[in-house]
Subunit: 191 residues, 2 copies
Amino acid sequence: MVDNTKAKIIAAAAKVAVKRGVQNLTMDAVAAEAGVSKGGVFYHFGSKHDLLLGMVQALVDVTDREIAAAQEQDQSAGSWLRGFIEACLTNSTQELGSVGRLSVAFLTAAANDTSLLAPMNRRQEAWREAINTSGIDPALAHIIRLAADGLWINDVMGVPVLDPTERTAVIARLVAMTHKNTEPGEKGIEA
Amino acid sequence: MVDNTKAKIIAAAAKVAVKRGVQNLTMDAVAAEAGVSKGGVFYHFGSKHDLLLGMVQALVDVTDREIAAAQEQDQSAGSWLRGFIEACLTNSTQELGSVGRLSVAFLTAAANDTSLLAPMNRRQEAWREAINTSGIDPALAHIIRLAADGLWINDVMGVPVLDPTERTAVIARLVAMTHKNTEPGEKGIEA
DNA sequence: TTGACTATACTGACCGGTCAGTATAGTCAT
DNA sequence: ATGACTATACTGACCGGTCAGTATAGTCAA
């Protein structure tokens, strides 16, 4: 199967980035990790840029899929946000979870060339829409999303922003916040 | 003056990272931007690693300084958080502001080698302490900080998480949130 | 007050390794 | 007989790091 190998290569790249560090994410290393020849990697991805792009796209896809899955058994107000929180924060970076692994690729991409974030940027409009219509006050909804995002990225980078106790408390509070404030625009300092 | 040149090099490095992208942050480019020879750069920073470390340290220092300055004319509850919000979100990335410029260096550092974040990680404990004793409920305080952080980093990476209107609304709401909820631990779903 | 010497702050040509990408010839299942 | 590769060898640019040497200012003994 064609896409099987492509997916295998992307997974291998994510694995290399996590295990050996981003500066060692070479095409040779990816090929070795994937059990494929270097030529094989270039057969599927015309350039390293393409591979990175594929990794970011995979992260976006997987995140969307996790949110959708979470929403399937929870359609009440704020469900999109709860799905987002779960997708970002549930699996730690070290674990083989889809999001965790690929997150590192995201960082790599951003650092090396912000144009690599195109697949993610394309998705932002849809996510903004989902947040604005999530069923809770938009400004608060964005704040919840941004906080989850902030914690996620600090996790990925290994910055100890929170200790374990604080972390669980914060996540619980974030989830709690998705349950109240159902009426938009009635309490904010402005729109 | 000795440190003048070091500071000049750090500023030049930040400028290069912003203008030409992180992948072009070479020692040659830094030297050229600083109006110094490559050897001169290596005279002050033993390695590129050292330079990056210096940049992260500069970011931390400048952030701390901005928070302290903001707190000078505002000692009421939540002032640390308001200072943090201002430091992170007030000056946009493109502007020559201290934080904005150096932020990119932070990303670079994180992506290339998380050990480069040591100066920032060292500061986290103090910041956590400041947040926990900020005068507002800790869980909420952390969420405010994380949201500011999340918005900041998305700014730096150029991810369009919010449109301009949403952005100002979110920042206003964030600031508003630092003013209420003065009693810790009375409304959370848990500690 | 001059000549020998020292410290500091550089300069800029150069070297060597790394790595994306190419080339080419061949394998093998369908 | 085509599509999906493997295997190996190679190119060439780029970049971190080195190093011998230069510039300038200052110290100090005779």
